[in-house]
């Protein structure tokens, strides 16, 4: 009887491979669906950014409507910030595919353009908001730094919730091998070992964790 049953070993193996492969395919499909979702969001954000940039260019030719430019810039920054949070959630649960890492890079570049555009607007207008750039480590394996960065993120989230449109919050991964980001780090004299760093209005650098109340002291309103 055993002779007729011993095929069960490899038959079970074949079926397992099929079921397992289906599971992996499901995983790839799920992660690709999430990547596509992020990519779609990115496309709209990219269009919005180009629109904001073009508005600045057009206004610089004649009457520059600072109010509208600032309003658009802040609204765009807020949207990108929310999308980045969603991207982060997806990234945490991404196992099989690496596409979201590329999306993250794209968002970092987008936010860098946003930062430059914001600087441009600031040069031409008397802006009412303060610009907060948060440079953090993306490829972080140190548990201590990871938790410190989590608290930094939460601190800035609290600040943004409190200050609303008075703060333009731009988080940027600073260790993702993006040349433009590296140049900005050089410009502000920020080293990799200093990360995470909060840069307020391009002048104040904060690399030590502070209480929310202490942080608020850097803000005029």
């Amino acid at each position: 009887m055993f002779e007729s049953q011993k095929h069960t070993f490899w038959q079970a193996l074949l079926i397992t491979i099929v079921i397992f492969s289906m599971g992996i395919i499901f995983g790839v499909v799920l992660e690709n669906w999430r990547t596509n979702k992020v990519d779609n969001l990115y496309k709209y954000s990219e269009i919005d950014l180009l629109d904001v940039k073009l508005q600045s260019e057009i206004y610089s030719m004649g009457n520059f409507n600072c109010g509208k430019a600032v309003e658009k810039n802040i609204a765009f920054a807020d949207r990108v910030y929310e999308e980045a949070k969603q991207l982060e959630e997806y990234e945490k649960s991404s196992i099989l595919t690496q596409d979201l890492k590329i999306s993250h890079k794209k968002y970092d570049i987008l936010r860098t353009i946003l930062l430059l555009n914001s600087n441009k607007i600031k040069e031409q207008c008397n802006v009412s908001y303060q610009e907060v750039v948060y440079f953090y480590r993306y490829n972080n394996v140190d548990l201590n730094l990871k938790e410190e960065e989590r608290v930094f993120s939460r601190l800035l989230e609290e600040l943004k919730n409190d200050k609303g449109d008075k703060v333009l919050l731009i988080p940027i991964a600073a260790d993702n091998n993006i040349t433009s980001v590296d140049l900005i780090l050089d410009k502000y004299n920020i080293l990799q070992k200093d990360l995470p760093v909060i840069l307020i209005d391009g002048k104040i650098k904060i690399s030590e964790l502070k209480s929310i109340d202490d942080l608020k002291k850097y803000f005029s309103n």
Binding site: F2, F9, I95, E147, I212
Partner: protein, 410 residues
């Protein structure tokens, strides 16, 4: 930890494989699942009942043996291993009522069941020897249904489902489910000649086969596992008769249960150590049974290691996060923390859990149909989760005891 998802995937692969393996075996053999060979031969059967402090159950156990209804019962040998309770008096009071009952009183305690069983085995004269624990109760007709397997001269041992006699408390109910699952699995393993234990509550041996391997290994604390491995190594087939059963008292509380399982695991380790040279040899012993035990052990320990690693990093993360949060004055918990984006591994894990649940339900429904009582369905998820959590700890405790040579039977 980048490799963790691959570890999870490996565990999932093995789980799916085992599940598929058992399901194929079941569906291929379902029509003859509860069948047993009938015989015209008149095998004489000697019962050997090792007893140490079984005063509360031994009378009932003996009554069950004599009520089995097997016409060629030759003798029932109770080996009282110097009990300190009233076991001796209880058995003596039954000697008149049952003339085929024999009592051997060991002058000193031999320390384990194997030695007591060997004392009885030496006295046994039947062609077949049924070993029954002093707290176990064979069902009516059990030997009649099991004896037919011995018409095949290659069969050395036959076992049957062991069911939990006491099913009142929560822990007993979980064991009742477990015992049914084990019985189901053991029957399936019969089809690939991979039965790895003929449990002590009721096992029927060909006496010549048992004597041929020198009886029970007195240095092994799970002599029933060892005897089965030894018989397998010597080329004897083992069979499982699902058409009958034996009931046995199961531990009611966690601690005695833990000790019992630790003993089983230590016995398993002793067997692995004794037969490791046979890996890849001696038929299914070296090709399936020993690798199965070794892989189980490795997966359990590795899983426990991963569990400890994750627990440690989780606690450390929480500590660091709390420390930094206090410095920053940020909330420790926000609504966002409850928002989880599940990975595909989470989905697969949930699916696998429910498939496991359905598998157990299927087992219960198959077994209940013929021989078993109703079970509380709600206990099944508890059974799956609790056993999964506790078993690796038992394993590590067993290894600790094994390493320290604390291999006590009781």
């Amino acid at each position: 930890m980048e490799f963790l998802p691959y570890v999870y995937l490996t565990y999932m692969f093995i789980s799916i494989y085992m599940l598929t393996f058992f399901l194929i075996l079941y569906f291929r053999n379902r029509n003859k699942f509860f069948d047993y060979p009938k015989t015209d031969k008149k095998y004489s059967v000697s019962f050997v009942v090792p007893a140490y402090n079984e005063g509360k159950s031994i009378e009932e156990s003996i009554k069950h043996i004599f009520n089995i209804g097997y016409p060629y019962l030759k003798e029932v040998i109770v080996v009282n291993d110097c009990s300190t309770d009233n076991t001796r008096e209880v058995v003596e009071s039954l000697l008149k009522k049952y003339p085929k009952l024999k009592l051997i009183n060991n002058p000193k305690n031999l320390g384990n069941a194997a030695r007591a069983q060997n004392v009885g085995l030496k006295q046994a004269t039947g062609e077949l020897v049924a070993v029954v624990d002093g707290d176990s109760f064979p069902a009516v007709g059990s030997i009649n249904k099991m004896a037919g397997y011995f018409d095949d001269p290659k069969v050395g041992a036959v076992t049957c489902p062991v069911l939990a006699r006491n099913q009142e408390h929560f822990w007993e109910k979980l064991q009742a489910i477990e015992y049914q699952a084990i019985s189901f699995g053991r029957k399936l393993l019969e089809y690939v000649d991979a039965i790895y234990v003929t449990p002590g509550p009721l096992a029927l041996y060909r006496r010549s086969a048992l004597l041929g391997i020198g009886g029970f290994d007195e240095n092994n604390i799970t002599q029933d596992i060892e005897a089965t491995w030894h018989l397998t190594a010597e080329g004897w087939n083992r069979k499982m008769c699902l058409a009958t059963h034996v009931t046995s008292n199961v531990p009611s509380k966690l601690k005695p249960w833990f000790i019992q399982r630790r003993r089983w695991n230590i016995g398993g380790l002793q067997c692995i150590s004794k037969y490791k040279k046979d890996i890849g040899r001696k038929g299914m012993l070296g090709l399936f049974i020993i690798p199965f035990f070794v892989i189980n052990l490795f997966l359990g320990l590795f899983g426990l290691g991963i569990f400890f690693y994750l627990s440690f990093t989780r606690v450390l993360s929480k500590y660091l996060y709390t420390r930094y949060s206090i410095t920053a004055g940020t909330p420790l918990v926000t609504l966002n923390d409850f928002y989880i984006t599940p990975s595909f591994l989470n989905y697969l894990g949930v699916i696998l859990f429910f498939v496991g649940l359905i598998y157990i339900l299927m087992i219960l429904s198959i077994m209940n149909e013929k021989i078993l009582r109703k079970e509380n369905i709600l206990n099944i998820p508890f059974y799956l989760i609790l056993y999964l959590i506790i078993y690796p700890f038992i394993m590590i405790n067993a290894i600790w005891h094994y390493a320290l040579k604390k291999q006590v039977w009781r």
